[in-house]
C-alpha cells in the first residue's frame, strides 16, 4: 500500500498525461458516436425496413469483442489516436442507436396524433414531442455507451492510442506492481465515475422534462 502511494506521489506527470489521454480518447469517441447515432436513429425510425437492416448490422457489431474491434483495422488504419477513436466510436455506437430507435418507437402514437391535430408541424412534433418523450431511453443508451467506451479505451494502448491502459501494460512489462495497480484502480474509478455522472445527467434531465425514467 505504501509502495502504491509512493508511486502515485512520484509519478504525477505520467498519471496526469494518461488520464488526460483516456478522457480525450473517450470523449471524442462518444461525441462522434452521438453525432452519428442520434440522427441515424431519428431518420431510421420512419423507415422500418432500413431500420431492421441497421439493427441487424449493429447487433452483429455489438457481438464483436472489444479487443478484436480495436486491432482488426490495424493493417488498414495503422496505430495511434485516429484508429483508436474509430474503433471506440464503433464500439459505442450500438447502444445509442438501438436505444434511440426503441425510445422513439415507444412514443405513444395517440400523443403524436394529438399534436398533429393541434397543428404542430412534423418537425415540431419530432423536436418538441417525440424526442423529449424518448429521452429517458436515449439517455440510458448514452450512459451504457459512455461506460463501454471508457472501459474499452483501456485497450487502446495496444494500438498506440495511449490512455490509462499504458500504466497497466508497462506495469506488467516492468513487473512494477505499484504502477500496474495504480493504472487498474484509476481505470476502474473512471468507469464507475462515468456510470455515476451519466446516471445523474439521465436522472436530472428526465426530471426536468417531467418524465419518470
Amino acid at each position: 500500500m505504501s509502495g502504491l502511494l509512493h508511486w502515485v506521489a512520484t509519478h504525477g506527470e505520467i498519471i496526469g498525461r494518461t488520464v488526460r489521454e483516456h478522457l480525450v480518447l473517450s470523449g471524442v469517441a462518444l461525441a462522434v458516436a452521438l453525432a452519428l447515432a442520434l440522427p441515424m436513429g431519428v431518420a431510421l425510425v420512419r423507415h422500418p425496413r432500413a431500420a431492421a437492416i441497421a439493427v441487424g448490422g449493429v447487433n452483429t457489431l455489438r457481438t464483436i469483442p472489444s479487443l478484436a474491434l480495436l486491432v482488426i483495422m490495424l493493417p488498414v488504419l495503422g496505430t495511434g489516436f485516429l484508429p483508436s477513436v474509430v474503433a471506440l466510436t464503433l464500439y459505442g455506437l450500438p447502444a445509442i442507436l438501438l436505444n434511440t430507435l426503441v425510445g422513439l418507437r415507444e412514443v405513444d402514437a395517440d400523443v403524436i396524433d394529438a399534436a398533429r391535430g393541434q397543428g404542430l408541424s412534423e418537425r415540431q412534433i419530432t423536436t418538441d414531442i417525440t424526442i423529449p418523450l424518448a429521452l429517458p431511453v436515449i439517455l440510458a443508451g448514452i450512459r451504457t455507451s459512455a461506460v463501454q467506451i471508457v472501459s474499452a479505451a483501456t485497450l487502446a494502448v495496444f494500438i498506440g492510442g495511449g490512455g490509462l491502459g499504458e500504466l497497466i501494460s508497462s506495469g506488467l512489462g516492468l513487473l512494477d506492481i505499484a504502477q500496474l495497480v495504480t493504472g487498474a484502480l484509476l481505470v476502474a474509478l473512471l468507469a464507475v465515475a462515468t456510470e455515476l455522472v451519466f446516471g445523474a445527467i439521465q436522472f436530472g434531465l428526465a426530471r426536468r422534462y417531467g418524465i419518470a425514467s
Binding site: 457481438t63 478484436a68 472501459s151 495496444f158 500496474l180 481505470v187
Partner: protein
Amino acid sequence: MTWLLENWDTFAEALRQHVVLVAQALALSLAIALPLGIVSARRPRLYTLVLAVTGALYTIPALALFALLIPVMGLGSGPALTAIVMYSLLVLTRNVVVGLRSVSPDVLEAADGMGYGRLRRLLAIEMPLALPVVIAGIRLTVVTQISVATVGAFIGAGGLGDLIFQGITQDIGDKVVVGAVAASLLAIVADEALRLLEARAAALGGRP
C-alpha cells in the same frame, strides 16, 4: 491469409484454448449464478445486494480486473478464469431471477395444490418456465466471456488473444487480424446458436 495456412496448428491450438476457457468459465459461473438467483429471487433485499456487488464487478473494465488480480493470483489461466466468472455473475444471476419471477403465482399455487414440494416445484415447474430467459442470459454471458477471454491473453491465459498480442509485438499484421476475426466469428456463431436455442426453449415451454 498465408499466415493462417502456414500456421494452422498454432491457430487451432489458440482456438481450442479459447473455447476451453469459455466453457470452464460458463460452467463455473452457472454453478454460482443458478443457486444465487434461486435464493435471491424471492428475497428482494438480498437481491438488491447481489445486484449491487455483481453490478460493480461488471463495471470494472476487463483489463483493470485482470491487472488487479495479478498481485493476488499471479499470471495464467486461473486468474483469467476468476476474472471472467466475476464478469458473468450480473447478467446470469439477473436473468435467473427475472425468469423465476416471471412464473405466474397461479401456476405456483396450482403446483402447491397438487402437493408439489418446494424442490420438485422448482425443478419441474419453475425452472422449465424460466428457461428461455435463463438461456437469453447465457447467450449474453457467453458473448461477453468470449470477449473478456480475448483480453485474458494479456495475463497469460492463452487463446485467440495470444495471436493478437503476439502479432502486435512481432509486427505480423496477418496474425493480429486472424486472431481478431476468429474471436469475432466465434462470438457471432455462439450468439446465433444460443439465439436459436432460446427460441426453441420459448416455443417448447410456452411464453417466457
